[in-house]
């Protein structure tokens, strides 16, 4: 072979040359990654140290600005901005501190924080983020604006409601929710996509902290997106909007299974006994999970008689529903001697007899 020494490397077969080149390439890449790891570590440590120092400066300045009456606000703001707010990172840290102060202070201080925010040029910075192409900069800007309740021209935010990125849609919703003075949920009217559970939780959280009057959720109980209807049914319960109970009862006949399930649960929580008649009438046609929900609604707000009427609608093969029935019937043990009549280990075998027994009881025999 010609390749038995490294001196004659130029005569090596192609495959060997390729391997050697690859080895060297991998080695160089390895060294590059080692250097990157070390660089990242040093950079992160430096940034962390810088952040600690800068946060301290910001906190000191903010405290003077907010609580020191002799503090020359306008002049000091300009000076601080000129001396310290130079890079994008400085701006980000300043915004973060403003958010923390805003979270902890209310009333007059809240107005002063907005003055501080504008004076430091953070509004302009967020506007530039909003206009940027990167979605994460836009989302971050929307988040800060909505948290601080600072308004920007609506035309800048509305398109985000229809963005393909869920994060942008979510932050845009929160923005409208937190900055609106009259109708915080108006954006629901224009919603052309389903609301995710995550969005629902965040909207609910904003509504809990909402200073103005909470809107009447009955307005959206006929929305064409079922997730919006489900969310509004939940909110009817959360905010005790009893005036919407008739609409919730109507929702028991909704075409969407999820909406019906939410209506059953909400009516149970609100203890609307008037809804039981429709629930029991719908029971035979419901999905297994909604049948289960109706049984548990009866457990809370119904009677032994309501429960008995359903026995004939639970098929012999529906073992899991029979178990639910058994569990619930034990709570009405004085009226339904279910423990004596059914062996839970063998429930499907006992069910036909039990159905016959229940029928006779209902007939008053």
């Amino acid at each position: 072979m010609e390749f038995n020494s490294f001196e004659g490397a130029e005569h090596w077969p192609f495959i060997l040359k390729i391997n050697l080149v690859l080895s060297l390439f991998f080695l160089v890449l390895t060294l590059a990654f080692v250097a990157l790891v070390i660089y990242l570590r040093i950079r992160k440590n430096r940034m962390e140290a810088y952040r600690t120092r800068f946060d301290r400066k910001l906190i000191e300045f903010f405290n003077h600005f907010l609580f020191d009456e002799d503090f020359k606000r306008a002049a000091e703001l300009g000076d601080f901005k000129f001396r310290y707010l130079k890079t994008a990172y400085d701006h980000k840290l300043a915004i973060k501190q403003v958010l923390i102060f805003d979270e902890n202070l209310k009333g007059e201080s809240s107005e002063a924080i907005k003055e501080l925010f504008n004076g430091l040029g953070l509004y302009k910075y967020l506007l530039s983020d909003l206009k940027a192409k990167a979605w994460y900069r836009q989302a971050r800007a929307l988040y800060a604006l909505s948290k601080l309740g600072i308004k920007v021209p609506e035309a800048l935010v509305t398109p985000f409601l229809h963005s393909n990125r869920v994060e942008l849609r979510q932050q845009a919703m929160l923005y409208f929710l937190n900055t609106s003075q009259e109708n915080p949920l108006a954006f629901l009217d224009d919603l052309d996509r389903e609301l995710s559970l995550w969005q629902q939780v965040f909207i609910e959280n904003s509504l809990i902290n909402f200073d103005l009057e909470v809107p009447d959720f009955g307005r959206w109980l006929n929305h064409d997106k079922s997730s919006v209807v489900v969310f509004c049914i939940k909110m009817v319960v959360s905010f005790n909007q009893f005036q919407n109970i008739p609409l919730l009862i109507e929702a028991l006949d909704h075409t969407d299974e999820g909406v019906r399930a939410q209506a059953i649960n909400s009516l149970k929580i609100m203890e609307v006994t008037d809804a039981l008649q429709l629930m029991t009438a719908n029971f035979p046609y419901e999905s297994p999970s909604n049948k289960r929900a109706i049984l548990y609604a009866i457990e809370k707000i119904g009677t032994a008689k309501d429960l008995r009427t359903l026995v004939s609608a639970i098929g012999r093969e529906e073992e899991n529903l029979q178990i639910d029935y058994y569990k619930i019937a034990t709570r009405f043990e004085n009226e339904i001697p279910v423990r004596k009549l059914i062996n839970p280990d063998n429930i499907t075998n006992d069910w036909a007899d039990y159905q016959y027994y229940s029928k006779r009881v209902l007939q008053g025999a």
Binding site: T30, F33, R41, Y143, L197
Partner: protein, 475 residues
């Protein structure tokens, strides 16, 4: 036609080379997609937190299912730790899988458990349930203990599924340490997607030698043994690179049995955990995905790259080999059970990428590697090896292995930087240099042995002795 030994050697050499190139391309693919996924995750999560979620009564309730077998030493402490998880509505269901020790009595005494009426659903057939217990104490009202005849982990989890109350189940190993916000983070894929989410998984980290107090990691330390450190690199590669990449292309086939969340309805539709395989965690997810695909239901599987769960890895060679033997058998069993999916375009990414990847990289890689070594030995015996050529081939493989591990360390540094002390970073780099020589052969042989055991019909898990995190590192 005359075929000489030289010709055979040449053909084999080319085949090994092609295989090596496929492997390298696969790794590059996973590194590329992982970095994009990690970057996106960081961007999505760098300005908001989950604390707001804690206030919502509208979050779905979760049943945490933890099978326990002979866990007397740590079970009480582990349950206490689970009970302190941050989440508005959850229940802890401990399934005592016929323990031979005093686990059950210890739980009954500590948590003042009393028996409930033995009524439960029968979605999935399981071994007999002997009792269901609930605590008399209000503080433990979300704890339930199920006592059943021994049937293995899969059977215990199926019993938990039958007996639990909520629609989302989180299956964990009882001896794992969960981050306080683990449930809040793991549920996010279920909340964020308008498609049906059937499962979500998180990153598992190595807890050996970490400082632990009250079931929480206080300080992340590097383990003292080489074997455990090498596994840290493996976990970096598997989770930060492998699973992140598969998550990006929606091709995840495995959610670790140590910590994963599932949609109960889908699990039941799929028939629950299969106790005829030792890789029940992988098999369940593959089956769930397969069914969804066959029924044309749009769905997804989520993956959260935050380190949410910490586990003890084997520091003993024999135990490590038993574990890897079992993993290899589980992989092969799953792939064989679902061989219909392999290279089948009907299953999309799963059929054309994920299952072939698992076949080539997880199943066949160690086997072919072993065959390669045998082939090399034969060449040596036949005097057909040019050691300079060998050195160059070895160098390329070795340098790529090291590169891959160093890239994984970079990913860790870029994402979560759990190992704060600089000396840990250098120790890990040193481990990356030694791992291909001193650790990899062990796991390769264990995997080969797993294949042999499978052919011989071995079905058992093999005993997994753990030192116990609580006893060694508790502050």
């Amino acid at each position: 036609m005359n075929i000489s030994i030289q010709d055979i050697i040449h053909v084999f050499s080319v085949l090994f080379l092609i295989y090596g190139l496929i492997i390298i391309s696969g790794y590059i693919f996973s590194a590329f997609f992982s970095i994009i996924e990690i970057r996106d995750y960081k961007r999505k999560n760098n300005f908001q937190d989950e604390v707001a979620l804690l206030q919502s009564a509208n979050l779905p309730s979760i049943s945490v299912l933890a099978p326990a077998y002979n866990e007397e030493a740590n079970v009480v402490e582990n349950i206490r730790s689970l009970l302190t998880l941050n989440y508005p509505s959850f229940e802890i269901v401990i399934i005592n899988d016929g323990s031979k020790d005093n686990s059950l009595q210890k739980m009954i005494d500590t948590f003042q458990l009393e028996p409930e009426e033995l009524v439960h659903y029968h979605y999935i057939p399981t071994k007999k349930v002997r009792g269901i217990y609930k605590s008399k104490i209000k503080a433990y009202k979300n704890l339930r203990v199920i006592d059943k005849a021994n049937g293995g982990k899969a059977d215990a989890l199926n019993t938990g599924i039958n007996c639990c109350n909520h629609d989302l189940i989180c299956c964990i190993d009882v001896d794992c340490i969960l981050e306080r916000n683990a449930l809040l983070k793991l549920i996010r894929p279920f909340l964020n997607d308008t498609k049906r989410v059937i499962a979500s998984g998180g990153i598992i980290r190595v807890a050996n030698n970490c400082v632990i107090e009250d079931g929480r990691i206080l300080e992340v330390r590097l383990p003292g043994t080489f074997i455990a450190r090498a596994q840290i690199l493996e976990y970096f590669r598997a989770f930060l690179m492998g699973r992140m990449a598969w998550s990006r292309v929606d091709g995840l086939l495995l959610i670790s049995g140590a910590f994963g969340m599932f949609d109960k309805k889908t699990v039941i539709e799929a028939g629950g955990y299969d106790h005829s395989t030792v890789g029940e965690d992988m098999e369940l997810l593959v089956r769930m995905r397969r069914i969804m695909r066959e029924q044309n239901i749009p769905y997804t599987v989520g993956f959260v790259p935050d380190p949410l769960c910490w586990t003890e890895v084997p520091e003993n060679k024999q135990i490590l080999m038993r574990q890897r033997n079992r993993w290899a058998r589980g992989t092969v069993e799953t792939l064989l059970k679902h061989k219909k999916m392999l290279f089948n375009p009907k299953y999309g990414v799963l059929g054309l990428l994920s299952t072939p990847y698992w076949m080539f990289f997880e199943w066949l890689a160690p086997v072919l590697e072993f065959v390669g070594i045998v082939f090399f030995i034969i060449l040596v015996l036949l005097g057909q090896v040019n050691f300079q050529v060998f050195a160059i081939f070895f160098l390329v493989v070795y340098s790529f292995s090291v590169l891959f591990s160093i890239t994984a360390i970079y990913f860790e540094e870029y994402s979560f930087q759990q190992y704060k002390k600089p000396k840990y970073m250098f120790q890990l780099m040193r481990t990356a240099l030694l791992e291909p020589l001193f650790y990899h052969p062990i796991v390769m042989w264990a995997a080969v042995k797993g294949n042999i055991d499978l052919i011989r019909g071995k079905k058992s898990w093999g005993q997994m002795t753990r030192t116990g995190l609580g006893s060694t590192t508790k502050k």
